[in-house]
Point group: C2
Chain length 437, copies 2
């Protein structure tokens, strides 16, 4: 690059896969990048840009370095869905100014996709798909394919439309290849074509694509007009994204995968949850405060608070994780929900009984007080049973009220179960005080 | 089905996508399934079987109902990777007996794949791929393609081998279609072909496929001989599987996605972790026991135990989740690890300071004791700082010793942080006792 040997450099650099080109690109200095913008065409730069993630490197830095009309041309050359992803990260005025510099057709395609709500099929679809008519024959279809292959995102499925541009069927390239040139498309097309609606949730689209092993799915409006396609590589990203979202929420971190730019931004993200949990913790503290008289008489009771509260938190987190996944996998009918709750109640009873017996024996051996052992043991039994059910019940209830159950994070459930466990433990201790003194 | 109208039924049923056929199949009664085995060919049954998951419905039930030679033919017709998946779930003697009933070629291909270790590229690859020689022309390649299309798992990448059967390049069907029949493969093939080794971890393969947006990747031995291919639909399953593994571990549930057959099997799976955590909790209890004298003098100290231990657990879980994901994403150099730790230390200091101040003020207002407020506030500050660092340090340490950091589940870190927080809190309380009395 530095030797300014343009041809040699272009040949070497462009030989790499666009993903590797992008990895190299982000390692360059600002000065080197500016040289690169001179050397490459907007189309070549577009391929690189498609392989950069906003989380790793803010797009704005790079866009600010480019000549605005070069950037606009680059957006026009990108697959529409990728261009939309980048433009969505910019502020509206900036995105609009790039759109105004673009050729009309590309700009209007991008503008349409910008309207769709986040996480819907519309927001991840692209418009570079191939359609043919059912009356054409295989030879004609192959000609269309050859002409459109350089621009289309996938050429492996070709969608068949009727006179009204409505989706009527699908042919795979596999079908075209094994048929003779004179066969009519209508004779080989599959009329049972699976499609998704623009407003469908991306998670549902991902699930369907995974179950059916499709490489692409057409996206239609409510009148069955084809608007775009979603390809499997986008779905891989969606699955990744949704999984890390669930993971983040279980741990009560807003977004585990965004590279934090430093401790301040990380602290800023985590503090809201921590402050909420802090006040829930204060509530627990004030509940124990009501049992101060009990505590002053039998100080040893305090020794087992973390054990009981901790076990309630652990079993609650387990039940929570199972319930959240079951909901994500689609077990959302009332019948299935009752089944989950019943099963968790059973599981809580069994684990509670066993842990309760273990604790009773251990405390008895350790302190030699059978009543203390029984108190702690029975508390563990009751706490585990209730906490297990609560761990499953809270996300199921949230789902019923259309709150994403994944926001019921592990720490939240743990804190709720702290409260439950403290009430059970001190309630029992106060009741059976005479045996402990 | 019941009307025994064979042709009508076959036509209706087979018109559906194999995934839907499988969904219907599992709803049938044993008697209906037995009729179905009569009506369908082993090849048709194979497509259905490829779409059934062991976790939902044990394969054995269905296999036991089939005539063994029908089952063997079905395995021979399945894609090798899918057949291997099913056979791996059976016991060895049973798998061997099916293999002995199969034709030699299919049996030997399956046997080879059965040898690869779980979670490696070898264990998920399939052998239905298409190779051509670099000296052939596009027309000849298309002929091969047409002949092999019905059996191959993907026809969208064709791998080019040299005389020794070594991988030399790749051509996509897209390249073939836009080239004239007389072009030599060697002129259009891409020599920069990406491949993975049989022993590579499936997670690495998935990451690479996602980054490069490939639809398939060839699998080679150490001499670059092509052994199989991995297609994107298998990778979608791998990503799903690995994500739910991380999720399960964060919650300390062995496997969140396996449908538990009842509360007993669920309890059996969760109890080992709960018992370990129970004894760790006992350790916490015995530590507090050492401060019984302090507790007897100032019973109100007990009130804040769950608050402090809980906050330590919460912040530790957040730091843990971030560290585990960073490791999973490949931030594993010593330098990056130190950076993660430093950042978490900074985050812990900031969140600790803010939560500490909030707690001090709240406790002061509530109890009117400034020393108690300061004690709890400073404990929260110290605990949060240490717990955040511990939450990141423990998984990083585990990774250093080649233990999967994901086993450091949320409940485990929470319990470790309970111990740390109790030591800090009671240590400080004992030291500054005179101000509290």
């Amino acid at each position: 690059l530095h030797e300014e040997n343009l041809h040699e450099f272009r040949r070497h650099y462009l030989e790499h896969h666009p993903y590797d080109q992008a990895r190299l690109f982000i390692l360059l200095s600002a000065k080197e990048r500016e040289m690169l913008y001179q050397y490459l065409s907007p189309g070549e730069m577009a391929e690189i840009f498609e392989n950069i993630e906003e989380e790793e490197h803010p797009y704005e830095t790079y866009l600010a370095e480019m000549n605005p009309s070069f950037a606009a041309d680059m957006f026009a050359e990108m697959y529409t869905d990728d261009a939309v992803d980048v433009l969505n990260e910019l502020d509206k005025a900036q995105a609009a100014s790039y759109l105004s510099l673009m050729n009309k057709k590309a700009a209007s395609e991008i503008r349409e996709l910008l309207h769709y709500e986040e996480s819907t099929a519309g927001s991840i679809m692209t418009t570079e798909f191939i359609t043919i008519s059912a009356q054409q024959n295989v030879g004609a279809a192959m000609e269309i394919l050859k002409a459109e292959a350089p621009d289309a995102e996938t050429i492996y499925y070709i969608y068949v439309t009727d006179g009204d541009k409505k989706l009527a069927g699908v042919v795979s390239l596999r079908d075209l290849i094994i048929s003779s040139d004179h066969t009519l498309i209508s004779d080989i097309m599959n009329e049972r074509v699976y499609s998704v609606s623009v407003a469908d949730d991306q998670e549902d689209v991902a699930r369907r694509m995974r179950d059916y092993n499709f490489l692409a799915l057409p996206v239609v409006d409510f009148q069955q007009h084809i608007l775009g396609i979603i390809t499997v590589d986008d779905i891989v990203d969606v699955i990744d994204e949704e999984a890390s979202e669930d993971y983040s929420r279980l741990a009560a971190v807003p977004d585990v995968d965004t590279a934090d730019r430093g401790p301040f931004s990380a602290a800023k993200k985590r503090l809201p949850w921590l402050i909420i949990l802090l006040f829930l913790g204060m509530l627990t503290a004030s509940l124990i405060g009501r049992f101060e008289a009990t505590l002053e008489q039998v100080a040893i009771l305090a020794v087992f608070i973390p054990l009981i509260a901790g076990m309630a938190g652990n079993t609650g987190t387990q039940a929570l994780a199972v319930a959240v996944r079951r909901i994500a996998l689609g077990d959302t009918t009332e019948e299935k929900k009752s089944k989950i709750l019943l099963k968790e109640a059973g599981t809580g009873l069994i684990t509670g009984t066993i842990c309760g017996i273990v604790v009773t024996i251990t405390v008895f051996i350790w302190h030699g007080q059978i009543f203390l052992g029984l108190l702690v043991g029975i508390s563990i039994f009751a706490t585990l049973t209730v906490a297990t059910v609560a761990g499953a019940f809270i996300p199921l209830l949230m789902h019923k009220f259309n709150i994403d159950p994944a926001v019921a994070s592990g720490p939240f459930i743990t804190t709720i179960n702290d409260i439950i466990s403290v009430l059970i433990y001190f309630g029992m201790a106060t009741m059976f005080m005479q045996y402990l003194l």
